[in-house]
């Protein structure tokens, strides 16, 4: 999976984007508000979260059994199940199904797993035309971009940029009116309608898989997953193995909580349960139904300190409430999964060396863990990655030496007091005329970068210990 090493550079670039600043501000205000309203209206929101957590724990503990039960039921319903150890195996399986279906045009609904395995570029390379049908995904596909949010992929794109993008890519008269959101929607609807009607294969993800019935559950507000699947000859589902739950009642608990946590809705406008290919007397629907179960590092998390992350239902509540995500946006993380959940998942999927900055991109304010509907202790998991990063010597050598020096200085009373006194005196001298204001606007040496965006308080003349001893003497 993709991961970008230059996190600091990306942060700087993204934070300079005024469009992003505005949309992140609006999103933070509205999504957090909607989340609060959606949970406040429940008699016992804590109880629902506890139930959802219990369902996820139970599903994960029994994953091997539930996946086999799911597989048996899909087969009984006339579908086929494929197991993929990693992204390239999944892409190979899907490519083969598309070739066997003699497909030309492939429509797909929104799926983070397909981003994770980079399915679209793989299919395009194999000669298929692939069209994203979630409107946000469609917009960024035209722009050649990746999602900047897991439930609002085109969050970083302004309305004007959508107009420019449609003008550039749609084969329509240039003099048509295209200014308002309604006009943009009408045009996207007409263009995508043609794609839906002529597609050969439809690809969806899955929000949940139900073992007892072999159901594949997909939630959308646009209804695009339903058009993707009813109008094509072959329906391919690709999803992570951790999405399986035992029963319809288990799925119900999660269906109650996912839309609330994600967008503050009680249910999404469409909640679809798919079971296989068309029945013999059905008037429409695909002739073939395939489910591709992707591992890609997930099974290796079970039984480790990271197994709590398998509970994640991809609602993005942790992104929406994160002071770091809402300041830097999704692209700065340089990985498919951004925000707190991405900071835990990315090192697992892409390797810690390639993504070591991400578990450090947190203030540990703990809001992500508070809002997580399935109680994932995200800061604790990020801390585990930080420990591994240190243990594996992935942090800069200078930092390790610096910490050793710091520990040595702070270990002995005399050394500590001496170091304090020298630093105090130096900084008061360095402040010069700024001494009177009480704030340093610049720092020398290793403090330079820190003070670029912050002021540092000028230290007082006497240390706390000196003041304390003086007080003891005086009384």
């Amino acid at each position: 999976m993709r991961a970008e090493r230059d996190f600091p550079g990306l942060v700087e670039k993204e934070m300079a984007d005024p469009v992003l600043r505005e949309s992140l501000g609006a999103m933070e205000a509205s999504r957090a508000h909607m989340y609060k309203l959606a949970f406040d209206e429940l008699d016992d929101a804590g109880d629902l979260k506890a139930r959802a957590t219990a369902v996820r724990r139970r599903s994960i503990a029994g994953m091997a059994e539930y996946l086999q039960q799911f597989e048996r039921n899909v087969l009984a319903n006339g579908g086929r199940v494929h197991w993929a150890a990693d992204g390239s195996e999944a892409n190979e399986i899907i490519g083969r199904i598309c070739r066997d279906a003699q497909a030309r045009l492939v429509t797909k609904s929104k799926s983070m797993v397909t981003e994770e395995i980079e399915l679209v570029p793989a299919l395009e390379l194999a000669g298929f035309e692939v069209v994203e049908t979630d409107l946000g995904e469609y917009i960024i596909q035209l722009r050649g971009e990746t999602p900047s949010h897991i439930t609002a992929p085109s969050l970083h794109v302004s309305l004007q940029q959508v107009i420019d993008t449609f003008n550039e890519h749609h084969q329509v008269p240039r003099d048509r009116p295209l200014e308002t959101a309604d006009q943009l929607l009408a045009e996207a609807r007409a263009v995508l309608r043609e794609k839906f009607l002529h597609a050969d294969v439809g690809i969806t993800g899955a929000n949940f898989l139900v073992a007892e019935t072999g159901s594949v559950i997909v939630v959308t507000n646009e209804g695009n997953a339903d058009l993707t699947t009813t109008l094509t000859r072959t329906h391919i589902v690709v999803t992570g193995i951790e999405k399986v739950v035992a029963t319809l009642e288990d799925a119900e608990v999660l269906l109650r909580i996912l839309p609330r946590a994600a967008v503050g809705q009680r249910l999404t406008n469409y909640t679809s349960f798919f079971h296989g290919p068309r029945g013999v007397a059905d008037a429409d629907g695909p002739n073939e139904f395939h489910v591709v179960l992707l591992d890609n590092g997930r099974s290796a998390m079970l039984g480790t300190e990271f197994e709590d992350m398998l509970r994640c239902i991809r609602c993005a509540a942790c992104l929406n409430h994160c002071p770091v995500y809402t300041a830097i946006g999704g692209h700065a993380y340089g990985s498919v999964y951004p925000g707190p959940m991405g900071a835990v998942l990315t090192p697992q999927l892409a390797g810690l060396a390639a993504s070591r900055h991400l578990p450090n991109a947190s203030t540990f304010c703990g809001r992500c863990a508070e809002v997580c509907p399935v109680g994932i202790p995200l800061p604790k998991l990020m801390r585990h990655w930080r420990e591994r990063e240190f243990a594996n010597h992935l942090r800069p050598a200078g930092e390790r030496r610096g910490l050793r020096l710091w520990a040595w200085l702070n270990d002995g009373g005399v050394r500590y007091r001496l170091a304090q006194a020298v630093t105090r005196k130096f900084l008061r001298w360095y402040a010069g005329r700024a001494l009177a204001t009480g704030w340093l606007r610049h720092l020398p040496g290793p403090g330079r970068a820190w003070a670029q965006t912050r002021d540092f308080p000028v230290p007082p003349e006497q240390s706390f210990q000196q003041l304390w001893s003086k007080r003891e003497r005086d009384t």
């Binding site: 609006a26 309305l159 019935t213 159901s215 507000n221 646009e222 339903d226 029945g279 039984g303």
Partner: protein
């Protein structure tokens, strides 16, 4: 059964083996907190359905019997300032004469144009979440429910289920009878997108308006 997938039997074996090994050291194995029973729901009926459906931009009416459906359709279309022409789901059992009598032009079959009004035979409705359930099945094309600009779903009042449990029982019954539908879809509102800013837009790909008509015996 294993071979029914593809040649990737080794990935299957490896994944299941890793999961079993992981489960052996997992904190999740000694669970005592099992309780998947959903919270009990308070009594919910037509009023609750209409309230919730209204909150998500669906409209609801209730008529005495199936024979009164065409008139209710006529009234609704007039309110929406739409021409009185509809495409009906072939599995909807209403005589042609009843549409004629109501002054509604009707053809049975598939949606042809983007602006069409489609009258669908709903499978059920769930009061506690304000959702109407449509399903694929013999003789009906589910695509029409998603292609029409105006989606009208007709549901017998007896199929208004109080809670999700009713739907799960229905699915299980269909499953054990070997006729689990290819798709069941819970609809709580029109096709909607938030990707073109605030406020969200209706009619993203499919219906711009959804109207539910319940009929009694």
């Amino acid at each position: 059964m294993v071979e029914a997938g593809t040649g990737h039997v080794s990935s299957r074996t490896d994944i299941l083996e890793r999961l079993r090994r992981g489960a052996a050291t997992s904190d999740y194995v000694t669970l005592t907190e099992h309780s998947a029973e959903p919270a009990a729901q308070t009594v919910a009926g037509f009023a609750r359905f209409a309230e919730l459906a209204g909150a998500t931009q669906m409209t609801t009416t209730r008529v005495a019997g199936q024979g009164a459906v065409p008139n209710a359709v006529r009234t609704y279309l007039a309110q929406q300032q739409l021409p009185p022409n509809v495409v009906t789901d072939p599995t909807l059992k209403l005589p042609i004469e009843s549409w004629l009598a109501a002054g509604v032009g009707q053809v049975s079959g598939d949606v042809q144009a983007d602006g069409d009004v489609y009258i669908s035979a709903g499978l059920a409705a769930i009061a506690e979440c304000g959702a109407v359930v449509i399903a694929s099945g013999p003789g009906r094309a589910l695509r029409n429910d998603f292609l029409a600009r105006t989606h009208i779903v007709v549901v017998p009042e007896a199929r208004l289920l109080p809670s999700f449990s009713g739907l799960w029982n229905l699915l299980r019954a269909d499953g054990s009878a070997g006729r689990l539908a290819r798709e069941y879809c819970l609809v709580t509102g029109p096709s909607r997108t938030a990707d073109l800013g605030v406020p969200a837009k209706l009619g993203a790909h499919g219906p711009e308006r959804v109207h539910i008509i319940f009929f009694g015996d």
